[in-house]
Symmetry: C2
Subunit: 340 residues, 2 copies
């Protein structure tokens, strides 16, 4: 299996992050990619640099004005007297029934919904290549690879059509699915990140051709708080094509795996032609964002069951933060995935 990655994805180095009103180090650091790449290589994967797919697949899941915003906002922002060095929003629309402002501060509020995804001069380029990485992995699977691992960083699954949040800017998982849709009528997305994949859900919420399933810590007391509840099943043509499986904080391997079985069973009924795994590793028991309690051995079992689905599979890296176990958890997942 190939691991897709380019060093361009490491330029983005966010410094801003507020948690419960207090400034904290932003945990989405470039070193994550180093650890994951080393683990992938030591697991026997072969590294490959992604091609440049332009905006073709990115524009399939994001709005034009959002892409314009991401590309030019930092240059506009640094002209604000007394403003922060990174783009950090401070005011947001709580509903989208009014107008779209022209000012940098107003657009920042429109296109972000938290303080976890600041924009620096390097953000667009890294996010763009993170998206190319996902698209490239999907292209490889279309070309005949049974599976491919996109080491996408920054991550993507919290990014909606036009809102960045949760360390995410472009929704790499959704972009991989958009690529797969060029050759498959039905594509499934299975999100095993610790956090609900609210961006992915939003993008496909009214569509029946992409079935979105997410297993995550219950949002009632966990990020992203406002989505990820079992009641959210899709709307319009997408009704029934979104499945949320929230788990209590601290859930360990056995309950997690039973939930994964239920997710896989529902995916089987959908009968997709290919699948994207939003591969967060932060469900780990010692991840600094501490929400669930999957063990390193548990990731091997998760990988094994996902491979057993037997579909062409794009693995897209999502969360998973610096801990002694980060690389081991990827290796464990890949071991299970390749030994299915």
């Amino acid at each position: 299996m190939k691991v897709i990655f380019t060093e361009k994805q490491k330029k983005h180095y966010p410094h801003t992050f507020f948690s419960s009103g207090a400034p904290q180090p932003n945990p989405e650091v470039p070193e994550r990619a180093d650890r994951l790449l080393a683990a992938a290589i030591s697991s026997g994967l072969t590294a490959e640099v992604p091609g440049d797919y332009g905006l073709e697949f990115i524009a399939a899941v994001h709005t034009p004005r959002y892409l314009t915003y991401l590309q030019n906002i930092h240059a506009r922002w640094i002209r604000i007297e007394g403003g922060s060095s990174e783009v950090v929003p401070g005011i947001h629309p709580d509903r989208r029934d009014g107008g779209y402002p022209a000012s940098a501060a107003g657009q920042a509020g429109w296109h972000h919904c938290d303080t976890a995804s600041p924009v620096s001069a390097d953000t667009w380029d890294s996010a763009l290549w993170s998206a190319h990485t996902a698209a490239h992995a999907a292209k490889r699977v279309i070309a005949g690879d049974a599976s491919c691992y996109a080491l996408s960083r920054p991550p993507g699954h919290h990014a909606t059509r036009e809102v960045a949040s949760g360390f995410c800017y472009l929704n790499n998982t959704a972009i991989a699915a958009a690529v797969l849709r060029t050759t498959h009528d039905r594509v499934a997305i299975l999100d095993v990140d610790l956090h609900h994949g609210n961006g992915t859900q939003e993008i496909f919420y009214e569509r029946s051709d992409v079935f979105t399933v997410s297993i995550h810590a219950d949002p009632v007391r966990f990020y992203p708080f406002f989505w990820g509840y079992a009641e959210e099943r899709g709307s319009g043509a997408g009704k029934g094509f979104n499945l949320n499986l929230p788990l209590p904080r601290g859930t360990g391997d056995d309950v997690y795996l039973r939930t994964l079985d239920a997710a896989i069973s529902s995916i089987g009924k959908f009968a997709p032609g290919a699948i994207v795994i939003a591969l967060g590793l932060d469900a780990y028991e010692d991840d600094p964002l501490r929400g669930l309690a999957v063990s390193t051995a548990g990731f091997e079992r998760i990988g094994h069951r996902i491979a057993a689905i037997g579909l062409p599979t794009v693995l897209v890296q999502e969360g998973g933060y610096l801990s002694d176990g980060l690389g081991d958890n990827l290796s464990s997942f890949l071991r299970g995935f390749s030994n299915s």
Copy 2:
């Protein structure tokens, strides 16, 4: 005319405020009330302390869970390890189609949409009495006063049914209108604050019994950015009962007064039984929030024209920040208002 005020409204002293990502002093300071009270007294108004109206009129314009939140969030917040001393939200729903979280951080995100309205241990009490002040002034007008000035502080017109923002918590202007509605079938609200009264608009957006009119700096490049556009006319039964009159930055007296004439003309056609003036003084040319350029003499002309509407009138203080002209602008307005 009476000026309604209680010192309890001065306990709230917010310290957090971010502008374009950078921390700034919060301009909504208790001293504003001192300056305005002194100007009201020197203008010949008689001070009166408001009565306690419980939650009767407040609950007419805000949701129960929001009121519960405002009352208990600070006590919950300070138990968060490493959290800020004031409640400051950091993540927000950009749409309201999911679930309502149970955690303090999640609820803070739900019930705020910017960083301008932090909650301290003193916030609820001051906001509550600011609302009682508005209710009391409306009660006086119902009882026969031709007009009454509610020195409401903190202000209210950015607060929606369940979202605090822009230094606002409880929508005093809307609460005054709710009181007037107990005896008048139709009530008008005319908002002359520098900023669009987005909270007031939201509360009455689907209603035809309260006509909301706002004159303000064009939101395309000014707070609140996402609402206040001319296209927003109300919806459902409220279609046609909201009027926004955005003005270019730097608009001075003459254009302002012509716009005011148009607002008053539209209010005349609505034929309300009483009117609430959302009396911001921050359209002043030297207000620190600098958006429009109304002169001190201009406020006298504004007051004169508002009095000439000839309706029972509740004046509810909204914005207007510390400048050498703050008290003079209120005196000027009151001079024009009483000499009509």
